[in-house]
């Protein structure tokens, strides 16, 4: 059985080699079809992979509440210099959320921009005042030293943990652990830990986690207060919390909880839209849906080129069948049944498209590398896409080979033998 199949493939190849140029050109049709399917899907996948990763990094079981500066009205900006703009989330609200969801992990954060100085090195960055569970909720790891502790928060200690990029900027040579940095102009903080490099996209405050310095939330409130000067508008803003992260037990709870929180928060923030709820899971699902749609469109477009390749195969096989009418007659006279003739020509069509498929996979894998190298566009080749493209090409060969093979098999043997 296998020997017979191999024999058919070998003899099919021989027949295809009768017309090398014709067979090569037909194969090229499939080759480009397969290559374009793989390349297009790889580009599409690469483009969305970053977005999807960003949402996944935000935590699929998290619900994020974030303070947002309300749209300024005419009246409020008129006496801007004098008044302090107050908005955002309150400590009290975080407590209420925790009471409402006793099994959820609620993490409060406060962010403000300050310069950090160590010796001759200086960096202006985001200082994040936060609590102990922040590390697990954001799914980060400590590279060296330790993370903030409950004791640090109780004591309002002047300790800080640096993101990995920040640590390298301030301490290019020595280990930062145990050293101190000057935060702002008068507060010295002892560095107790360095975080693992994350490489994630920038958070809504415009800074990546790798560039932040983390201090106890209580210390932040005590040393720096709730009022900050917005450097761009030169105006004072009063804000208690920038973000409340709520980590839930499972993905199933996310949607319902988000609705409940929305409902709970609405009365206090009804007058001004000064906060927003972000559900990473929802964003992830939306992005995935968009991605699927995008992939589908790409695949359809690319499949059209495979279709064109398939029509090429059909064309060539029809020509082959006509040319080899006599051979068909001979084979029928020597005992070939219709099914044998069908098999023979299907194998030839299959070999044509499979050769194109293999070469197409090769080219389709190379092209994304080129795109990544020269156009700096991220790409991602998924094995299932390669299989899909190859499978479609094999299918195309068989489907478009059926009709010519059927024509060959249904020739009258007497007529076929007489054919010149």
């Amino acid at each position: 059985m296998i020997a017979d199949t191999l024999r058919m493939v070998r003899l099919g190849l021989k027949s295809l080699l009768l017309h090398k140029l014709r067979s090569t050109l037909t194969t090229a049709g499939i080759l480009f079809g397969v290559a374009s399917v793989i390349a297009m899907l790889a580009v599409g996948e690469g483009a969305s992979a970053e977005t999807l990763k960003q949402y996944r990094d935000m935590g699929v079981t998290n619900v994020l509440l974030r303070s947002k500066k309300p749209e300024e009205t005419q009246q409020s900006s008129s006496n801007s210099m004098m008044s302090i703009l107050g908005y955002g989330l309150f400590y009290q609200e975080a407590d209420r959320i925790q009471n409402l969801l006793p099994y959820a992990t609620v993490v409060r954060t406060r962010e403000f921009q300050r310069g950090l100085v160590h010796g001759e090195n200086w960096a202006s960055t985001m200082i994040v005042g936060t609590e102990v569970p922040f590390l697990t909720v954001t799914n980060m790891q400590v590279h060296e030293g330790r993370w903030l502790t409950e004791l640090d928060l109780q004591r309002m200690s002047n300790v800080c943990v640096l993101g990995s990029s920040l640590a390298r900027a301030l301490f290019p040579l020595e280990s930062p652990i145990g050293q101190t940095v000057l935060v702002g102009i008068e507060d010295r903080f002892e560095i107790v830990g360095i975080l693992e490099y994350q490489g994630r996209a920038a958070s809504p405050n415009g800074t990546t986690l790798d560039e932040c310095a983390f201090i106890p939330l209580s210390s932040s409130r005590r040393r720096f207060g709730d009022t900050i000067r917005n450097p761009s508008t030169n105006r004072y803003e009063n804000i208690e919390l920038h973000e409340i992260k709520v980590k839930l037990g499972s993905m199933e709870e996310v949607e319902g909880t988000a609705g409940v929180l929305e409902h709970m928060m609405r009365p206090a923030h009804a007058s001004k839209k000064d906060y927003e709820i972000t559900v990473p899971l929802e964003l992830l699902r939306k992005a995935e849906a968009t991605q699927r749609m995008f992939n589908l469109v790409l695949a359809v477009i690319a499949s059209i080129s495979l279709l064109v390749g398939g029509i090429g195969i059909m064309n060539v096989m029809l020509a082959t069948v006509t040319e080899r009418t006599r051979e068909i007659g001979i084979r029928r006279a020597l005992g070939a049944k219709k099914k044998h003739i069908v098999q023979q020509f299907l194998v030839e069509a299959g070999v044509l498209s499979a050769l194109g498929g293999v070469a197409g996979v090769g080219l389709g894998v190379l092209v994304p590398f080129g795109i990544e190298k020269w156009f700096n566009q991220p790409t991602s080749i998924q094995p299932q896409h390669v299989l899909l493209a190859f499978g479609i090409s094999a299918l195309v060969g068989v489907v478009f080979g059926i009709y010519p093979a059927w024509r060959a098999a249904n020739m009258d043997p007497v007529e076929a033998l007489r054919h010149e």
């Binding site: 020997a3 017979d4 024999r7 003899l11 021989k14 027949s15 080699l17 009768l18 006599r326 051979e327 007659g329 001979i330 084979r331 029928r332 006279a333 020597l334 005992g335 070939a336 049944k337 219709k338 099914k339 044998h340 043997p413 007497v414 033998l417």
Partner: protein
């Protein structure tokens, strides 16, 4: 009416053999009142074969002759199981094959009949060996055995060791030898030759006809359809067709080629 065909394979087939009683020899192929009509249009039916009865027995060497339009080609097609009679029976090895479907008919061609064509009809892209293996392939019998058999038969028909050549690299006579070997690969009941020497010069023609005589030593049965009297007279008997009927059967081995009984239905 019944064609009596002597031919126990004699030691020297080229010599004239006296007719012997052959009733005991098995009938290999038999026509019983075979008609083949082609409907060309309303009220226009061509009766290519119009009631032909004949027998071929094991070891026979029969030539079928007739002018064009006599039904020769139609008879060849039915003998070769490429076509079915409109009515009547065609028996191969005792089995009526006139009602078989396409697949079974293919099997009859593959197992019982060895075709030899005027234009050799080798498959050009295949080597000699591969051409020889084609009939066995459709019986699912290609393997080391078939190679041995191909080597043996190539030797038997005087091809020597040219199994890896392509047909185009061989002379016409050699190609026809390959075709003969191919026809013998499946141990058919009989060889069916269609103008087997029509494309060959007279020397080569003689060589091929000598080969046929030689093959009869192995009790090979041969039916040759031809319009060439020189070819026909090498056979034991000649069956003359005329207007779709058997006109007469001539025993070529009798010195005077007197006309035998025409087989009329």
């Amino acid at each position: 009416m019944v064609v009596k065909a002597p031919a126990a394979p004699s030691a020297a087939a080229t010599e004239t053999v006296a007719p012997v009683s052959t009733d005991a020899l098995p009938i290999i192929a038999e026509f019983v009142d075979v008609h083949r009509h082609y409907v060309m249009g309303k009220d226009n039916v061509v009766r290519a074969l119009n009631g032909v009865s004949m027998q071929v027995k094991k070891g026979d060497y029969l030539a079928i002759m007739g002018r064009s339009g006599s039904g020769k080609s139609t008879m060849l097609n039915i003998l070769g199981a490429l076509d079915r009679p409109t009515s009547g029976e065609y028996r191969v090895g005792g089995r009526d094959v006139s009602k078989l479907d396409d697949d079974d008919l293919s099997d009859v061609r593959g197992r019982e009949i060895g075709f030899i064509f005027q234009s050799f009809n080798l498959i050009p892209q295949l080597t000699v060996l591969e051409n020889l293996e084609v009939p066995l392939f459709y019986q699912g019998r290609v393997g080391p055995e078939s190679r041995k058999k191909a080597e043996y038969l190539a030797d038997r028909v005087g091809l020597g060791r040219r199994l890896e050549h392509k047909p185009m690299e061989l002379s016409g006579g050699q190609q026809q030898r390959v075709a003969i070997a191919r026809a013998l690969m499946n141990d058919p009941l009989f060889l069916l030759a269609d103008e087997a020497t029509g494309n060959l010069d007279s020397n080569t023609e003689k060589e091929i006809l000598d080969l046929f005589d030689d093959l009869r030593k192995d009790a090979v049965t041969i039916v040759i359809v031809t319009h060439n009297p020189k070819v026909a007279e090498r056979a034991d008997n000649t069956l003359w067709l005329r207007d779709g009927k058997v006109d007469r059967l001539v025993d070529n081995r009798l010195a005077s080629s007197a006309a035998g009984d025409g087989g009329h239905p």
